[in-house]
Amino acid sequence: MDAQLKKGVLDVCVLAALSRRDSYGYQIVKDVSCIIDVTESTLYPLLKRLEGSGALVTYSAEYNGRLRKYYRITPEGQTRIAEFLESWPQMIAAYDFIKGGCNHD
């Protein structure tokens, strides 16, 4: 997939994974890599970016005698998912147009 397209979709996929439940790095990789091939070196900057833009927050919780960093989606992150889903008809229109046909006439 085109890197730019992948980047845009991956952000929303990670947020979608978090909208089901709070999650941690490895779990996010497992959840998302079923849809798009993703590695930690892709995920890590992405999570930092999402955190910086206020789409998610982090907290630490004890697990198995150590602290694990969890990620939780914020209302702003939810808005981003909603925006993506709302833009979907436009994406489909673009897809149809690219495939070779305009359904408006």
């Binding site: 979709v9 590695t39 960093k69």
Partner: protein, 304 residues
């Protein structure tokens, strides 16, 4: 490689980050290893399933460069966490880089002007001297012709006025000789004039030709650039890794391919190529059924 070895190797490659960022990154990777071990992997398996430290560093650096480039072109939506030393980015707007390149070339030309300036002046001097010599020879030729004419006239006068037959014969000789010299010099002038004409024409052509060549190469570059922009990108092993970073602080060692992670729901054998389609189709069914009905008249991809 143990967890400690992995982390210390990663640390050595993360020189482009500041200390806070580096520690956060190392913490993140330490947690990834711990999570894998908790998931049932051995320490070795956990590390083998991650990318190699140098690949991780290269990817993170590339990502950072992209972010920096974005931040320089558009104001950031939120305060950026930390900005390391500004590394020249390969993704800067091409206009900026062209201007920078021109400035650089001008500076280099100015600095090296004592060298190429003297060479250029010498060359110009040579050309002027050569032309002057040719013109000098031509002037000499003209004066020889004029003196030849004078000799011819005086000898004709002498032939007419002298009563002595022998002297008359001698003057006929000088007249013929002067006519010969005049003819030779006319031919010489003609040849030199042609030489000057040829030289100036070829010189002018050469200059024009080199200008044309520069223009043509510029056009070629432009065309190639636009082609590259439209050309489909090659398949990539690493997400986002569009170009390898210019600065490669790490030696290239054997590249480890991460072991595929166990999937939680979707079938593992579905190829990566099919995956985007899968999401598309899924969302499409749920989100916009009306659109699907409206446009289901033929050129549709059917649901998996």
């Amino acid at each position: 490689m143990t967890k400690l070895e992995f982390l210390s190797r990663l640390q050595t490659y993360l020189t482009f980050m500041d200390i806070v960022e580096r520690n956060q990154t190392l913490e993140f990777y330490a947690e990834q290893i711990d999570d894998r071990i908790d998931d049932g992997m051995t320490e070795l398996q956990a590390i083998a399933s991650l990318e190699a430290p140098e690949d991780i560093a290269a990817n993170l650096q590339q990502m950072k460069l992209n972010v920096d480039a974005l931040n320089t072109s558009t104001p950031p939506a939120s305060p950026v966490v930390t900005q390391g030393p500004v590394v020249p980015s390969p993704v800067v707007a091409s206009n900026d880089s062209r201007v920078l390149k021109t400035i650089f070339i001008v500076i280099v030309l100015l600095i090296t002007s004592p060298i190429w300036g003297t060479i250029l002046l010498t060359l110009i001097g040579f050309i002027i001297a050569f032309l002057c010599t040719l013109i000098g020879i031509m002037i000499a030729n003209i004066s020889i012709i004029l003196s030849g004419l004078a000799v011819a006239i005086s000898s004709t006068v002498q032939i007419c006025t002298q009563g002595d037959g022998l002297a008359q014969l001698a003057y006929i000789g000088t007249l013929l000789a002067s006519i010969g010299i005049i003819l030779i010099n006319i031919v010489l002038i003609y040849l030199i004039a042609r030489l000057i004409g040829f030289l100036s024409r070829t010189g002018f052509k050469g200059v024009r030709h080199s200008f044309d060549r520069v223009r043509a190469s510029r056009k070629m570059k432009k065309m190639q650039a636009s082609k590259q922009q439209t050309a489909p990108s090659a398949p990539q092993t690493h997400a986002y890794n569009m170009t390898k970073p210019l600065v490669q602080p790490m030696p290239q060692t054997a590249v480890q391919t991460p072991v595929p992670l166990p999937c939680t729901d979707a079938p593992q054998e579905a190829s990566i190529l099919n995956k985007p389609l899968m999401i598309m189709e899924r969302n499409r069914q749920i989100q916009v059924p009306h659109h699907h009905n409206a446009s289901s008249d033929g050129q549709e991809v059917h649901h998996v």
